[in-house]
Amino acid sequence: MRVRGLQGSSPISWKGRPPEFRREARFAYALIMPSLLLMVGLIVVPFFYAFWISLHRVNFLFPGRPFIGLENYVHMTTNQDFWASVGRTIYFTAVSVVTQTVLGIAIAQLLNKPFRGRIIVRTLLLLPWAIPTVVNGTLWRWILDGSTGALNHLLLQLGLIKHNVIWLGRPFLAMNMVILGDSWRMLPLYVIMFLAGLQAIPEDLYDAARVDGATSWDCFRYVTLPFLRPVILVVLILRTLQTFRVFDIIYVMTRGGPANGTMVITFLTYFTTFKFQNFGYGAALAFFIGITTLGMAWVYIRTLRGREEAL
């Protein structure tokens, strides 16, 4: 993000300003107003309203809407299902982001080397990312189907397995299969970000290193990585924020199952609210997710402001 004037500019104040200044400011507010109203109405108010709902018992099983203070939060923090879903969310996020970062850097390195047909590979690279998330999830559910899925058929034909594997049938295996499906679609995003980072490294640095007798590994370790570090940092934080909210692919691949094996925090919230109609507790979970996200967003923005040149 390169938007000037975020850093180092002192706040503009009204005091001792000529009338033109007021006119300009009023004009600016008029231009911003529609967007601002939408943002406040669709983000700020709902965010706090979720907190307000979470202080009540809003449950279709019970009549009325009694104020119960922090009871929903007490229930949440003493609830095994909640902590289990937090653990699964952390597992999903950590494994996805780390795997995709490592593979993303490797693939970006590959695509940064000259070879015949590179332009074709680079163009096709974005294809998985273009496929809608839900379609991607459905496609992988079909590929991983326990009886007639393509993966089972392929592995049987190659003689690598003797019997069909029910890929989405066991909790831990299913979780990893969702990560596989997610990685197929998201890897291109990592690759293009890292590729942009790699292309910014001056070529003569490598030449100089090679003259000094550096091996390919040395070049990677002492030239590529230090240059790529800011990009890696931004990608890690940004993708953690975005992976943490995973919902769509879980909905179509496993619906939180089997045996809650893929019941991540967003899915638990959805289930609690819209399946069990427990709006109060659902809102508490939603608010927890919101606060956690804002915390991470704060770290992200600080990082970004610290390194406005990073991307």
Partner: protein, 299 residues
């Protein structure tokens, strides 16, 4: 069998070059194989889909499902029963998605560019705060907002309408548009506007006559990404629609609960859902890559 000449060529190829080509080949395979299976499954007759040994290339490819959805051909009586309802289900969803995604995109481009212009050109108290705050707010995931937004849309009587979705979608698109347009407008030389204003143009007039025409590429590339994100959206559409206003992702995601497991039909719907974004991604790749690497948006 290798001739002397080709053996010499093999010797000349450095192992590193070999590894690069091997890597590229594996990458292509990993990228294309699942996408190919989406296509192949959509056009394979149902009995070939479940056959073992598998028909990696369908013996009798058929466009029947796709034609049924698009409605370009009357169905044969035999397949009428099984295919008509799912096809109509998808057809309606395609229309809904197209309307919602394009309307939201135009709305966000219109409102977002006005705000972007103010941030780029004008000085006013609260500028920095108003620019940074939404950036944090926009990171809030839909699940954190969907419960209150559901109440809002319900109160307005807009559940299961396209208007309800169009109202809610700016919540995850508008900030992105404002930021990208702000950055773009800052790069347009201010002198051009000053000249117009000397000639008697108002500030707003200068914006519409000078800045907007000069920013066509930015509007276009921002619009593409906004459209793709709106086209992909799932959670809001899932919660805020129940029948008539279902978008394509919801139709694909809910298909099996409505019509049972029919992977051929699901892949046909999925294929059609993928056509617009895939065409956009392949045709306008450099634009998208630039947008994705400078902006920080949902992947």
């Amino acid at each position: 069998m290798m001739g002397a000449r080709s053996r010499r060529i093999w010797h000349r190829i450095k192992p590193q070059t070999f590894l690069v080509y091997l890597g590229a080949l594996l990458l292509l395979l990993w990228t294309l194989a699942p996408a190919y299976w989406l296509l192949a499954s959509a056009i394979s007759p149902s009995h070939e889909l479940v056959a073992y040994p598998p028909h990696w290339f369908p013996d009798n490819p058929t466009l029947e499902r796709l034609q049924a959805i698009i409605g370009s051909k009357m169905l044969r009586a035999s397949s009428m029963q099984t295919m008509a309802a799912p096809a109509a289900f998808f057809r309606r969803a395609i229309l809904n998605s197209a309307i919602v995604a394009s309307t939201t995109t135009l709305l966000c481009l219109g409102l977002g560019s006005l705000a972007g212009y103010a941030f780029a050109r004008l000085r006013f108290p609260g500028r920095g705060f108003l620019l940074i705050l939404p950036l944090a707010l926009q990171m809030l995931p839909p699940i954190a907002l969907v419960i209150p937004l559901y109440s809002l849309v319900q109160a307005l009587g807009l559940i299961d309408t396209l208007a309800g979705l169009i109202l809610v979608y700016p919540s995850f698109l508008l900030v992105y548009v404002v930021w990208v347009m702000t950055g773009y407008f800052q790069n347009i030389p201010e002198e051009l506007e000053d000249a117009a204003r000397v000639d008697g143009c108002s500030r707003l007039g200068a914006f519409f006559r000078i800045v907007v025409p000069l920013s066509t590429p930015a509007f276009f590339s921002t619009g593409l990404l906004t459209f793709l994100l709106a086209w992909d959206e799932f959670l809001y559409a899932l919660v805020l629609t129940s029948a008539r206003a279902k978008t394509l992702p919801v139709a694909v995601g809910e298909f099996s609960t409505q019509f049972g497991i029919d992977y051929g039909m699901m892949m046909a719907g999925g294929l059609l859902a993928s056509v617009p974004p895939v065409i956009i991604a392949l045709l306008f790749q450099p634009l998208l890559v630039r947008g994705l690497t400078t902006g920080s948006i949902k992947g």
